[in-house]
Protein backbone atom coordinates (compact mmCIF):
# COMPACT_ATOMS: atom_id res chain seq x y z
CA UNK A 1 0.00 0.00 0.00
CA UNK A 2 1.32 3.39 -0.95
CA UNK A 3 1.82 5.83 1.93
CA UNK A 4 -0.08 9.11 1.63
CA UNK A 5 2.27 12.07 1.31
CA UNK A 6 2.08 14.39 4.32
CA UNK A 7 0.43 17.75 3.60
CA UNK A 8 2.89 20.61 4.21
CA UNK A 9 2.12 22.52 7.43
CA UNK A 10 1.64 25.84 5.66
CA UNK A 11 -0.94 24.34 3.33
CA UNK A 12 -2.83 22.72 6.21
CA UNK A 13 -2.81 26.03 8.06
CA UNK A 14 -4.14 27.89 5.03
CA UNK A 15 -6.86 25.28 4.59
CA UNK A 16 -7.90 25.68 8.24
CA UNK A 17 -8.02 29.47 7.95
CA UNK A 18 -10.04 29.08 4.74
CA UNK A 19 -12.47 26.70 6.47
CA UNK A 20 -12.97 29.10 9.39
CA UNK A 21 -13.55 31.99 6.98
CA UNK A 22 -15.96 29.87 5.01
CA UNK A 23 -17.87 29.10 8.23
CA UNK A 24 -18.16 32.85 8.93
CA UNK A 25 -19.34 33.42 5.35
CA UNK A 26 -21.99 30.67 5.70
CA UNK A 27 -23.23 32.32 8.88
CA UNK A 28 -23.63 35.57 6.96
CA UNK A 29 -25.45 33.91 4.06
CA UNK A 30 -27.72 31.79 6.27
CA UNK A 31 -28.58 34.55 8.75
CA UNK A 32 -28.47 37.70 6.61
CA UNK A 33 -30.18 39.67 9.40
CA UNK A 34 -27.06 39.21 11.51
CA UNK A 35 -25.21 41.69 9.28
CA UNK A 36 -27.91 44.37 9.48
CA UNK A 37 -26.93 45.94 12.85
CA UNK A 38 -23.30 46.20 11.72
CA UNK A 39 -24.41 47.99 8.55
CA UNK A 40 -27.21 50.05 10.04
CA UNK A 41 -25.37 51.49 13.05
CA UNK A 42 -22.51 53.20 11.12
CA UNK A 43 -24.99 54.40 8.48
CA UNK A 44 -27.22 55.99 11.11
CA UNK A 45 -24.18 57.55 12.75
CA UNK A 46 -23.05 58.92 9.39
CA UNK A 47 -26.44 60.41 8.52
CA UNK A 48 -27.03 61.64 12.09
CA UNK A 49 -23.61 63.22 12.59
CA UNK A 50 -23.79 64.85 9.19
CA UNK A 51 -27.24 66.32 9.88
CA UNK A 52 -26.33 67.44 13.39
CA UNK A 53 -22.73 68.60 13.16
CA UNK A 54 -22.61 69.60 9.48
CA UNK A 55 -22.33 73.29 10.37
CA UNK A 56 -18.96 72.67 12.04
CA UNK A 57 -17.27 73.14 8.65
CA UNK A 58 -18.00 76.87 9.05
CA UNK A 59 -15.38 76.97 11.82
CA UNK A 60 -12.02 78.41 10.82
CA UNK A 61 -9.45 75.62 10.46
CA UNK A 62 -11.63 73.00 8.84
CA UNK A 63 -9.83 71.32 5.94
CA UNK A 64 -12.96 70.86 3.82
CA UNK A 65 -16.35 72.49 3.30
CA UNK A 66 -18.07 69.11 3.05
CA UNK A 67 -18.77 67.42 6.37
CA UNK A 68 -19.95 64.31 4.45
CA UNK A 69 -16.44 63.92 3.05
CA UNK A 70 -14.87 64.58 6.44
CA UNK A 71 -17.01 62.10 8.37
CA UNK A 72 -17.44 59.20 5.91
CA UNK A 73 -14.08 57.52 6.69
CA UNK A 74 -15.00 57.62 10.39
CA UNK A 75 -18.29 55.85 9.74
CA UNK A 76 -16.48 53.26 7.60
CA UNK A 77 -13.96 52.69 10.40
CA UNK A 78 -16.82 52.56 12.93
CA UNK A 79 -18.40 49.82 10.81
CA UNK A 80 -15.07 47.98 10.98
CA UNK A 81 -15.02 48.44 14.76
CA UNK A 82 -18.56 47.05 15.13
CA UNK A 83 -17.76 44.11 12.81
CA UNK A 84 -14.57 43.27 14.69
CA UNK A 85 -16.33 43.47 18.04
CA UNK A 86 -19.09 41.23 16.65
CA UNK A 87 -16.41 38.65 15.77
CA UNK A 88 -15.46 38.70 19.47
CA UNK A 89 -19.10 38.20 20.49
CA UNK A 90 -19.39 35.28 18.06
CA UNK A 91 -16.23 33.74 19.51
CA UNK A 92 -17.69 34.12 23.03
CA UNK A 93 -20.81 32.32 21.79
CA UNK A 94 -18.60 29.54 20.36
CA UNK A 95 -16.87 29.25 23.75
CA UNK A 96 -20.23 29.09 25.59
CA UNK A 97 -21.48 26.39 23.23
CA UNK A 98 -18.30 24.31 23.40
CA UNK A 99 -17.33 24.78 19.74
CA UNK A 100 -13.95 26.33 20.56
CA UNK A 101 -13.08 23.38 22.82
CA UNK A 102 -13.43 21.10 19.82
CA UNK A 103 -11.18 23.38 17.75
CA UNK A 104 -8.59 23.47 20.52
CA UNK A 105 -8.17 19.67 20.52
CA UNK A 106 -7.46 19.75 16.77
CA UNK A 107 -3.79 19.83 15.69
CA UNK A 108 -4.19 23.32 14.21
CA UNK A 109 -1.81 25.90 15.74
CA UNK A 110 -3.49 28.49 17.98
CA UNK A 111 -2.49 31.40 15.75
CA UNK A 112 -4.28 29.73 12.84
CA UNK A 113 -7.53 29.56 14.84
CA UNK A 114 -7.18 33.25 15.73
CA UNK A 115 -6.30 34.18 12.15
CA UNK A 116 -9.52 32.56 10.91
CA UNK A 117 -11.61 34.78 13.19
CA UNK A 118 -9.60 37.93 12.48
CA UNK A 119 -9.47 37.57 8.69
CA UNK A 120 -13.21 36.79 8.58
CA UNK A 121 -13.86 40.07 10.37
CA UNK A 122 -11.60 41.90 7.92
CA UNK A 123 -13.47 40.54 4.92
CA UNK A 124 -16.85 41.16 6.52
CA UNK A 125 -16.01 44.79 7.36
CA UNK A 126 -16.04 45.62 3.64
CA UNK A 127 -19.85 45.22 3.60
CA UNK A 128 -20.75 48.10 5.97
CA UNK A 129 -17.90 50.18 4.55
CA UNK A 130 -19.24 49.85 1.01
CA UNK A 131 -22.81 50.57 2.11
CA UNK A 132 -21.85 53.72 4.03
CA UNK A 133 -19.61 54.88 1.19
CA UNK A 134 -22.42 54.45 -1.35
CA UNK A 135 -24.80 56.51 0.82
CA UNK A 136 -22.14 59.18 1.35
CA UNK A 137 -21.37 59.48 -2.38
CA UNK A 138 -25.09 59.76 -3.11
CA UNK A 139 -25.32 62.60 -0.57
CA UNK A 140 -22.45 64.48 -2.15
CA UNK A 141 -19.25 63.29 -0.46
CA UNK A 142 -16.20 63.87 -2.61
CA UNK A 143 -14.82 61.00 -4.73
CA UNK A 144 -11.51 60.01 -3.10
CA UNK A 145 -9.93 58.67 -6.30
CA UNK A 146 -8.89 55.07 -6.85
CA UNK A 147 -5.75 55.45 -4.73
CA UNK A 148 -7.69 57.15 -1.92
CA UNK A 149 -10.35 54.45 -2.05
CA UNK A 150 -7.79 51.64 -1.89
CA UNK A 151 -6.03 53.24 1.07
CA UNK A 152 -9.38 53.73 2.88
CA UNK A 153 -10.49 50.13 2.27
CA UNK A 154 -7.13 48.80 3.44
CA UNK A 155 -7.37 50.87 6.63
CA UNK A 156 -10.94 49.65 7.20
CA UNK A 157 -10.05 45.96 6.74
CA UNK A 158 -6.98 46.27 8.98
CA UNK A 159 -8.97 48.18 11.63
CA UNK A 160 -11.52 45.35 11.64
CA UNK A 161 -8.64 42.94 12.27
CA UNK A 162 -7.50 45.10 15.20
CA UNK A 163 -11.07 45.15 16.58
CA UNK A 164 -11.38 41.38 16.12
CA UNK A 165 -8.13 40.84 18.07
CA UNK A 166 -9.49 43.07 20.85
CA UNK A 167 -12.88 41.30 20.84
CA UNK A 168 -11.25 37.84 20.73
CA UNK A 169 -8.95 38.72 23.61
CA UNK A 170 -11.93 39.74 25.77
CA UNK A 171 -14.02 36.76 24.63
CA UNK A 172 -11.22 34.37 25.59
CA UNK A 173 -10.65 36.21 28.86
CA UNK A 174 -14.29 36.40 30.05
CA UNK A 175 -15.68 33.41 28.09
CA UNK A 176 -19.10 35.07 28.01
CA UNK A 177 -21.17 37.12 25.59
CA UNK A 178 -21.83 39.46 28.53
CA UNK A 179 -18.47 41.04 27.69
CA UNK A 180 -19.99 42.40 24.44
CA UNK A 181 -20.48 45.98 25.74
CA UNK A 182 -16.79 46.10 26.70
CA UNK A 183 -15.78 44.94 23.21
CA UNK A 184 -17.97 47.59 21.54
CA UNK A 185 -17.25 50.41 23.99
CA UNK A 186 -13.48 49.86 23.72
CA UNK A 187 -13.51 50.15 19.94
CA UNK A 188 -15.94 53.09 20.02
CA UNK A 189 -13.65 54.98 22.41
CA UNK A 190 -10.52 54.11 20.40
CA UNK A 191 -11.98 55.30 17.08
CA UNK A 192 -13.78 58.39 18.37
CA UNK A 193 -11.01 59.80 20.61
CA UNK A 194 -9.24 60.89 17.44
CA UNK A 195 -9.82 63.65 14.92
CA UNK A 196 -13.17 61.95 14.22
CA UNK A 197 -15.40 65.02 14.62
CA UNK A 198 -13.04 67.88 13.84
CA UNK A 199 -9.40 68.58 12.88
CA UNK A 200 -6.85 68.31 15.71
CA UNK A 201 -6.53 72.08 16.14
CA UNK A 202 -10.27 72.43 16.79
CA UNK A 203 -10.56 69.70 19.43
CA UNK A 204 -10.97 70.69 23.08
CA UNK A 205 -7.84 70.48 25.27
CA UNK A 206 -8.12 66.99 26.82
CA UNK A 207 -9.37 65.32 23.62
CA UNK A 208 -6.64 67.06 21.63
CA UNK A 209 -4.03 65.54 23.98
CA UNK A 210 -5.55 62.06 23.69
CA UNK A 211 -6.02 62.31 19.92
CA UNK A 212 -2.38 63.32 19.55
CA UNK A 213 -1.14 60.11 21.23
CA UNK A 214 -3.95 57.79 20.06
CA UNK A 215 -2.44 55.73 17.21
CA UNK A 216 -5.87 55.43 15.55
CA UNK A 217 -5.67 59.17 14.75
CA UNK A 218 -3.02 58.26 12.17
CA UNK A 219 -5.34 55.59 10.77
CA UNK A 220 -8.22 58.09 10.55
CA UNK A 221 -6.04 60.68 8.80
CA UNK A 222 -4.74 58.10 6.32
CA UNK A 223 -8.25 56.83 5.56
CA UNK A 224 -9.56 60.39 5.20
CA UNK A 225 -6.83 61.92 3.01
CA UNK A 226 -8.41 61.03 -0.36
CA UNK A 227 -11.78 62.48 0.68
CA UNK A 228 -10.43 65.88 1.75
CA UNK A 229 -7.36 66.30 -0.47
CA UNK A 230 -4.56 64.41 -2.19
CA UNK A 231 -3.24 60.98 -1.24
CA UNK A 232 0.40 61.00 -0.20
CA UNK A 233 2.87 58.52 1.26
CA UNK A 234 3.60 60.97 4.08
CA UNK A 235 -0.05 60.73 5.23
CA UNK A 236 -0.24 56.96 4.64
CA UNK A 237 2.76 55.40 6.36
CA UNK A 238 1.94 56.62 9.90
CA UNK A 239 -1.45 54.89 9.56
CA UNK A 240 0.17 51.67 8.37
CA UNK A 241 2.67 51.80 11.23
CA UNK A 242 -0.08 52.42 13.78
CA UNK A 243 -2.11 49.47 12.47
CA UNK A 244 0.94 47.19 12.48
CA UNK A 245 1.66 48.15 16.09
CA UNK A 246 -1.94 47.67 17.23
CA UNK A 247 -2.18 44.32 15.43
CA UNK A 248 1.09 43.12 16.94
CA UNK A 249 0.10 44.07 20.50
CA UNK A 250 -3.57 43.03 20.46
CA UNK A 251 -2.82 39.92 18.36
CA UNK A 252 -0.17 38.82 20.87
CA UNK A 253 -2.55 39.41 23.78
CA UNK A 254 -5.37 37.48 22.08
CA UNK A 255 -2.99 34.62 21.30
CA UNK A 256 -1.84 34.56 24.93
CA UNK A 257 -5.48 34.29 26.08
CA UNK A 258 -6.08 31.46 23.59
CA UNK A 259 -3.06 29.55 24.88
CA UNK A 260 -4.31 30.07 28.45
CA UNK A 261 -7.75 28.81 27.44
CA UNK A 262 -6.19 25.70 25.94
CA UNK A 263 -3.91 25.05 28.93
Amino acid sequence: MEATAAIPAWRANLATIGALMSRAKNELLRVPGAAIPGVLAPTIFFLGLNGVFGALTQLRGFSTGSYESFIVPISMLQGAGFTGAAAGVNLARDIEQGWLDRLLVSPAPRWVLLAGTVLSASARSLIPATFVLAIALLLGAGWPGIDGLLVTYFMVAAMAAVAACWGSMLALRFKSQSAAPLMQAGMMALILTTTAYAPLALLQGWLQDIARINPVTQVVEAARQGFVGEVSWAETWPGLLALAGLLAILGALALREMRRTAA
Binding site: P37, L40, A41, I44, F45, L47, G48, L49, N50, G51, V52, F53, G54, A55, L56, Q58, L59, Y67, Q177, S178, A179, A180, P181, L182, Q184, A185, M188, A189, L192, T193, A196, Y197, A198, L202, L203, Q204, W206, L207, Q208
Partner: protein
Protein backbone atom coordinates in the same frame (compact mmCIF):
# COMPACT_ATOMS: atom_id res chain seq x y z
CA UNK B 1 -55.08 45.06 52.76
CA UNK B 2 -56.83 47.36 50.26
CA UNK B 3 -56.62 46.64 46.55
CA UNK B 4 -54.64 49.82 45.95
CA UNK B 5 -52.05 48.88 48.56
CA UNK B 6 -51.73 45.40 47.06
CA UNK B 7 -51.22 46.84 43.58
CA UNK B 8 -48.63 49.29 44.88
CA UNK B 9 -46.74 46.44 46.53
CA UNK B 10 -46.74 44.51 43.25
CA UNK B 11 -45.54 47.56 41.31
CA UNK B 12 -42.79 48.13 43.92
CA UNK B 13 -41.66 44.49 43.84
CA UNK B 14 -41.61 44.29 40.05
CA UNK B 15 -39.95 47.71 39.79
CA UNK B 16 -37.18 46.65 42.18
CA UNK B 17 -36.72 43.41 40.23
CA UNK B 18 -36.40 45.42 37.02
CA UNK B 19 -33.72 47.68 38.53
CA UNK B 20 -31.74 44.73 39.96
CA UNK B 21 -31.95 42.96 36.60
CA UNK B 22 -30.48 45.98 34.81
CA UNK B 23 -27.64 46.49 37.28
CA UNK B 24 -26.72 42.78 37.19
CA UNK B 25 -26.48 42.51 33.41
CA UNK B 26 -23.71 44.57 31.83
CA UNK B 27 -25.37 44.26 28.41
CA UNK B 28 -28.43 46.12 29.76
CA UNK B 29 -26.49 48.66 31.82
CA UNK B 30 -23.89 49.61 29.21
CA UNK B 31 -26.30 51.32 26.79
CA UNK B 32 -27.83 53.33 29.63
CA UNK B 33 -24.64 54.61 31.25
CA UNK B 34 -21.43 53.63 29.46
CA UNK B 35 -22.24 54.53 25.83
CA UNK B 36 -23.95 57.89 26.55
CA UNK B 37 -21.08 58.86 28.87
CA UNK B 38 -18.43 58.00 26.26
CA UNK B 39 -20.38 59.88 23.57
CA UNK B 40 -20.90 62.88 25.87
CA UNK B 41 -17.16 63.08 26.51
CA UNK B 42 -16.20 62.64 22.87
CA UNK B 43 -18.83 64.96 21.41
CA UNK B 44 -18.03 67.63 23.98
CA UNK B 45 -14.34 67.40 23.18
CA UNK B 46 -14.77 66.91 19.44
CA UNK B 47 -17.49 69.40 18.60
CA UNK B 48 -16.92 71.84 21.48
CA UNK B 49 -15.85 74.56 19.06
CA UNK B 50 -19.46 74.72 17.90
CA UNK B 51 -20.24 77.24 20.64
CA UNK B 52 -18.36 79.79 18.51
CA UNK B 53 -20.70 79.33 15.55
CA UNK B 54 -22.96 82.31 14.81
CA UNK B 55 -26.46 81.48 16.05
CA UNK B 56 -25.37 79.12 18.82
CA UNK B 57 -27.36 79.92 21.99
CA UNK B 58 -25.35 81.57 24.76
CA UNK B 59 -23.97 78.82 26.98
CA UNK B 60 -21.22 78.53 29.57
CA UNK B 61 -19.73 75.51 27.71
CA UNK B 62 -20.63 72.83 25.18
CA UNK B 63 -20.72 70.30 28.04
CA UNK B 64 -23.45 72.36 29.70
CA UNK B 65 -25.40 72.33 26.41
CA UNK B 66 -24.89 68.58 25.86
CA UNK B 67 -26.05 67.38 29.31
CA UNK B 68 -29.73 67.32 28.28
CA UNK B 69 -28.86 65.34 25.13
CA UNK B 70 -26.90 62.75 27.13
CA UNK B 71 -29.82 62.36 29.54
CA UNK B 72 -32.23 61.90 26.62
CA UNK B 73 -29.99 59.30 25.02
CA UNK B 74 -29.72 57.44 28.30
CA UNK B 75 -33.46 57.45 29.04
CA UNK B 76 -34.38 56.40 25.48
CA UNK B 77 -32.02 53.45 25.76
CA UNK B 78 -33.38 52.70 29.24
CA UNK B 79 -36.86 52.50 27.69
CA UNK B 80 -35.53 50.17 25.00
CA UNK B 81 -33.69 48.02 27.58
CA UNK B 82 -36.87 47.83 29.69
CA UNK B 83 -38.76 46.59 26.63
CA UNK B 84 -36.07 43.97 25.93
CA UNK B 85 -36.19 42.75 29.55
CA UNK B 86 -40.01 42.50 29.42
CA UNK B 87 -39.82 40.55 26.15
CA UNK B 88 -37.27 38.18 27.73
CA UNK B 89 -39.74 37.66 30.61
CA UNK B 90 -42.45 36.81 28.07
CA UNK B 91 -40.15 34.43 26.16
CA UNK B 92 -39.13 32.64 29.37
CA UNK B 93 -42.70 32.30 30.65
CA UNK B 94 -42.26 34.57 33.68
CA UNK B 95 -45.01 36.93 32.49
CA UNK B 96 -47.41 33.97 32.06
CA UNK B 97 -46.89 33.12 35.72
CA UNK B 98 -47.65 36.74 36.66
CA UNK B 99 -50.80 36.67 34.50
CA UNK B 100 -51.96 33.62 36.46
CA UNK B 101 -51.41 35.40 39.79
CA UNK B 102 -54.33 37.18 41.54
CA UNK B 103 -53.03 40.65 40.68
CA UNK B 104 -54.11 43.38 38.28
CA UNK B 105 -52.56 42.80 34.85
CA UNK B 106 -51.75 46.51 34.54
CA UNK B 107 -49.49 46.34 37.60
CA UNK B 108 -47.23 43.99 35.62
CA UNK B 109 -46.62 46.72 33.03
CA UNK B 110 -46.55 49.49 35.65
CA UNK B 111 -43.91 47.59 37.62
CA UNK B 112 -41.65 47.51 34.57
CA UNK B 113 -42.32 51.21 33.90
CA UNK B 114 -41.52 52.09 37.52
CA UNK B 115 -38.18 50.39 37.04
CA UNK B 116 -37.55 52.32 33.80
CA UNK B 117 -38.50 55.59 35.57
CA UNK B 118 -36.01 54.79 38.33
CA UNK B 119 -33.31 54.27 35.68
CA UNK B 120 -34.28 57.62 34.17
CA UNK B 121 -33.85 59.20 37.61
CA UNK B 122 -30.45 57.51 37.90
CA UNK B 123 -29.45 58.81 34.44
CA UNK B 124 -30.47 62.38 35.34
CA UNK B 125 -28.49 62.28 38.60
CA UNK B 126 -25.48 60.63 36.88
CA UNK B 127 -25.21 63.22 34.11
CA UNK B 128 -25.88 66.17 36.41
CA UNK B 129 -23.10 64.87 38.65
CA UNK B 130 -20.76 64.50 35.67
CA UNK B 131 -21.63 68.02 34.54
CA UNK B 132 -20.96 69.50 37.97
CA UNK B 133 -17.71 67.55 38.41
CA UNK B 134 -16.42 68.82 35.04
CA UNK B 135 -17.38 72.41 35.67
CA UNK B 136 -20.81 72.87 34.11
CA UNK B 137 -23.10 75.32 35.91
CA UNK B 138 -26.78 74.60 36.50
CA UNK B 139 -28.08 78.11 35.85
CA UNK B 140 -31.53 77.31 37.29
CA UNK B 141 -29.94 76.32 40.61
CA UNK B 142 -31.48 73.60 42.77
CA UNK B 143 -35.05 74.19 41.47
CA UNK B 144 -33.75 73.98 37.90
CA UNK B 145 -31.90 70.74 38.64
CA UNK B 146 -34.99 69.26 40.30
CA UNK B 147 -37.12 70.26 37.31
CA UNK B 148 -34.67 68.63 34.88
CA UNK B 149 -34.58 65.45 37.01
CA UNK B 150 -38.39 65.31 37.18
CA UNK B 151 -38.78 65.79 33.41
CA UNK B 152 -36.15 63.13 32.62
CA UNK B 153 -37.77 60.64 35.04
CA UNK B 154 -41.24 61.24 33.60
CA UNK B 155 -39.95 60.94 30.03
CA UNK B 156 -38.18 57.66 30.83
CA UNK B 157 -41.49 56.25 32.08
CA UNK B 158 -43.33 57.58 29.02
CA UNK B 159 -40.79 56.15 26.55
CA UNK B 160 -40.73 52.89 28.54
CA UNK B 161 -44.48 52.61 27.86
CA UNK B 162 -43.82 52.43 24.12
CA UNK B 163 -41.03 49.86 24.66
CA UNK B 164 -43.36 47.78 26.86
CA UNK B 165 -46.14 47.96 24.25
CA UNK B 166 -43.84 46.62 21.54
CA UNK B 167 -42.56 43.88 23.88
CA UNK B 168 -46.12 42.83 24.77
CA UNK B 169 -47.25 42.90 21.17
CA UNK B 170 -44.33 40.92 19.69
CA UNK B 171 -43.15 38.91 22.70
CA UNK B 172 -39.73 38.87 21.08
CA UNK B 173 -36.58 40.34 22.65
CA UNK B 174 -34.79 40.39 19.30
CA UNK B 175 -37.55 42.52 17.75
CA UNK B 176 -37.36 45.05 20.60
CA UNK B 177 -33.55 44.98 20.40
CA UNK B 178 -33.87 45.66 16.68
CA UNK B 179 -35.44 49.01 17.55
CA UNK B 180 -32.12 50.22 18.95
CA UNK B 181 -31.11 51.90 15.66
CA UNK B 182 -34.52 53.60 15.54
CA UNK B 183 -33.83 55.10 18.96
CA UNK B 184 -30.64 56.61 17.55
CA UNK B 185 -32.52 57.98 14.55
CA UNK B 186 -35.12 59.68 16.78
CA UNK B 187 -32.32 61.15 18.89
CA UNK B 188 -30.29 62.45 15.95
CA UNK B 189 -33.44 63.97 14.44
CA UNK B 190 -34.09 66.08 17.53
CA UNK B 191 -32.32 68.98 19.20
CA UNK B 192 -30.61 66.56 21.62
CA UNK B 193 -27.09 67.17 20.31
CA UNK B 194 -27.21 70.54 18.52
CA UNK B 195 -29.41 73.64 18.24
CA UNK B 196 -32.16 73.07 15.66
CA UNK B 197 -31.32 76.36 13.88
CA UNK B 198 -27.81 75.11 13.07
CA UNK B 199 -28.77 71.64 11.86
CA UNK B 200 -28.64 70.67 8.18
CA UNK B 201 -31.85 70.04 6.21
CA UNK B 202 -33.87 67.80 6.27
CA UNK B 203 -32.77 67.01 9.85
CA UNK B 204 -33.60 70.60 10.86
CA UNK B 205 -37.25 70.49 9.78
CA UNK B 206 -37.83 67.04 11.29
CA UNK B 207 -36.18 68.12 14.56
CA UNK B 208 -38.44 71.18 14.76
CA UNK B 209 -41.53 68.93 14.97
CA UNK B 210 -40.01 65.98 16.82
CA UNK B 211 -41.75 65.78 20.25
CA UNK B 212 -38.43 64.77 21.77
CA UNK B 213 -37.03 68.21 20.86
CA UNK B 214 -39.64 69.85 23.13
CA UNK B 215 -38.64 67.58 26.01
CA UNK B 216 -34.95 68.27 25.34
CA UNK B 217 -35.52 72.03 25.45
CA UNK B 218 -37.54 71.66 28.66
CA UNK B 219 -34.65 69.81 30.29
CA UNK B 220 -31.95 72.02 28.77
CA UNK B 221 -33.35 75.45 29.67
CA UNK B 222 -33.03 75.05 33.47
CA UNK B 223 -29.42 73.96 32.90
CA UNK B 224 -28.22 76.61 30.44
CA UNK B 225 -30.30 79.66 31.37
CA UNK B 226 -32.88 79.01 34.08
CA UNK B 227 -36.47 77.84 34.36
CA UNK B 228 -38.64 79.00 31.49
CA UNK B 229 -42.41 78.47 31.93
CA UNK B 230 -43.12 78.23 28.22
CA UNK B 231 -40.41 75.59 27.54
CA UNK B 232 -41.50 73.63 30.62
CA UNK B 233 -45.13 73.65 29.48
CA UNK B 234 -44.12 72.48 25.98
CA UNK B 235 -42.05 69.68 27.50
CA UNK B 236 -44.90 68.58 29.76
CA UNK B 237 -47.29 68.56 26.81
CA UNK B 238 -44.88 66.47 24.75
CA UNK B 239 -44.39 64.03 27.65
CA UNK B 240 -48.16 63.81 28.11
CA UNK B 241 -48.51 62.96 24.42
CA UNK B 242 -45.89 60.20 24.68
CA UNK B 243 -47.58 58.88 27.86
CA UNK B 244 -50.99 58.72 26.15
CA UNK B 245 -49.48 56.99 23.11
CA UNK B 246 -47.64 54.52 25.36
CA UNK B 247 -50.77 53.82 27.45
CA UNK B 248 -53.02 53.23 24.44
CA UNK B 249 -50.46 50.99 22.73
CA UNK B 250 -49.68 49.11 25.98
CA UNK B 251 -53.37 48.53 26.78
CA UNK B 252 -54.03 47.18 23.29
CA UNK B 253 -50.88 45.05 23.34
CA UNK B 254 -51.75 43.69 26.78
CA UNK B 255 -55.21 42.65 25.58
CA UNK B 256 -53.56 41.00 22.58
CA UNK B 257 -51.06 39.18 24.80
CA UNK B 258 -53.84 37.91 27.11
CA UNK B 259 -55.78 36.70 24.09
CA UNK B 260 -52.91 34.86 22.37
CA UNK B 261 -51.14 33.81 25.57
Amino acid sequence: MSELATNLRVVWALGMRSIRQTFRRPQLMAPIVVFPTILLAIQTGGAGGAVNLPGFPPVQSFLQFMLAGAMMQSLMLAGNSGGIALAVDIEMGFTDRLFAAPISRYTIVLGRLAGTAALGLFAALWFLAIGLVFGAHIEGGVPGALLAIALVTATAMAVGGIGAAIALRTGSASVVQGLFPLVLVVLFLSSAFFPVELMIEPAQTIAEYNPLSFVVEGVREPIISGINASDTADALLAIAGIVVLGLVLSARALRHRLRVG
